[in-house]
């Protein structure tokens, strides 16, 4: 067994370092995107029927409180040791961040702007979609940043259910083969991916919300 370099992945993982990175990205981003798609209608319903918001938030929090490992083990019965088994819990976890981000963002629209929209003849749904949601975009992105960064690190837990943890799998190999460098590889790679994804989200938010710049452009 050769003691390879930083980017040399043990053969038992049957993957390259780049392969693990792209897998890591997939296991991170699929849940965040699915979470956003699921959170949007839930948030709209919470906005429309304010009374369901606290119970919805409660349920999301309970999901979040369930340890990921427990959920993984539970889901293996249905989906086996697959990507889906990792992605489903991570998707559920994003909801606890994304639903309140969207709802509170929509609620933050000033009373004047909301009254003006109503007075100009926006229907309720049109007001949500054309006025409140766009104005909530900065808050939604704040939620997406938290959801993304936490997903990036949670993915590695997947290593415990048959090497389903992408870069996290390097951690178990680091133990098995006494190669601490692999652990450093996993930790640093995951951190760098987290930072880069976060930077991309900040950039996307800036591009999407030219109206929210602080500095006055003259």
């Amino acid at each position: 067994m050769s003691h390879g370099g930083f980017f040399e992945v043990p053969s038992d993982l049957q993957n390259t370092w780049w392969g693990l990175v792209s897998w890591q990205l997939q296991l991170t981003l699929v849940p965040v995107l699915c979470g956003l798609v699921i959170a949007l209608p839930i948030a709209l319903l919470c906005r429309r029927f304010g009374w369901i918001y606290p119970p919805v938030l409660g349920v999301a929090t309970v999901f979040y409180a369930v340890p990921s490992l427990a959920l993984f083990v539970f889901l293996i019965d249905w989906f086996g040791e697959s990507d889906l088994t990792v992605e489903i819990p991570l998707t559920l976890y994003t909801l606890v961040v994304l639903v309140p981000a969207i709802v509170d963002g929509m609620r933050s629209v000033s009373a004047e702007t909301r009254a003006a929209a109503e007075a100009m003849g926006f229907g309720t749904l049109r007001r949500y979609v054309q006025v409140e949601l766009p104005i909530a975009v900065p808050a939604v992105f704040a939620g997406l940043r938290v959801a993304t960064v936490s997903s990036v690190s949670l993915v590695s837990v997947g290593m415990l259910i048959g090497n389903e943890g992408a870069l996290g799998n390097l951690l178990s190999d680091a133990l098995n083969y006494h190669r601490p460098l692999l652990a450093w590889d996993a930790v640093i790679s995951i951190a760098v991916i987290g930072v880069l994804l976060d930077a991309l989200l900040v950039l996307a938010r800036r591009l999407l919300t030219p109206w929210a710049r602080k500095a006055t452009a003259k």
């Binding site: 000033s110 702007t113 909301r114 003006a116 109503e118 007075a119 100009m120 003849g121 006055t216």
Partner: protein
Amino acid sequence: MIVIDAVTKRYPDGTTAVDRLTLEIPDGSITVLVGLSGCGKTTTLRMINRMVEPTEGRILLDGADVREAPVNALRRSMGYVIQHAGLFPHRTVIDNIATVPRLLGWDKHRARERARELMERVGLDASFAGRYPYQLSGGQQQRVGVARALAADPPVLLMDEPFSAVDPIVRKGLQDELLRIQADLGKTVVFVTHDIDEAIKLGDMVAVLREGGRLAQYAPPARLLSAPADAFVEDFLGVDRGIRHLSFFGTEGLELTAEPIVTEDATAEQVRAATLPEIPYVLVTDAEGRPRGWADALDRATGGDGELLPYGHAFTVGRDSLRAALDAAVLSPTGWAVAVDEQGRAVGVAAQEAVAAAIRSAHTAGVLR
């Protein structure tokens, strides 16, 4: 015409915001609802476009109950301007203005074309089109708010304290702008304010509401000032009612004296000829005839060129009111008001006594009318 017919708004907690209010709001003029906070003026306004539904009574727009029309169609036929403008922060100026045309299904190009027209009408430079609301001052935002309300050319304009949040100088500019636009467009404007001076300046009719949403008086502003219905209205109007009432009298009937006006380079002979026995001063103008100040007539006539006394401010004949003329007369240290034409050239002077005589005859004419 908008008819508010015995309308009451009671909330579930038992408070009465509006109490059996009846008002006929004429077309093509500005009707102001004025009162202290909690008098139901905003509630009344919001019942017209059904943002609030009345508990009792009905509101008729051109004879039809507003509840008969689909609510969003009704609202799109009424422009709405609100305090702090309430612009959409995520939309550019031009797209804010184009909002209602777009809701009405106009294509983007036509809606923006229309928005550009409106920007010009409210005095916004075309370079603002692509800006976002955060890049505008409060006054500019409110101009956008007015343009947005006018975009679909609605017959009715509802304005809820639109100018309350801007500083006094900007507010005066916006008020003048509204009067100018209204002179062109002749909308049916319902305007809510807590500022009685704003009500008197803008309103063709003014409804004074008292606490609990009851009507205290509904009258043209001049009538309000000359004959307040009761102690509440009188108190609300404040002091200086007589002086403020003069705003409604023109200066056409004011007798002007044209003699004591000389140019800067007038000879001693010319000054002597211009001097009247009853006034020891002459008004000195520049070569174009614009007033510069008062000079001691005797001093000028003997070749002196002593310092000029300030004349305060002039009033424009035909445009300004007797209030401006009186103010000019009492402000001027000589006791004579300076009258100018539209070009700013001095056309005469008026003594305090002449202003007083004009006031007296204006009152007489008012009583006889």
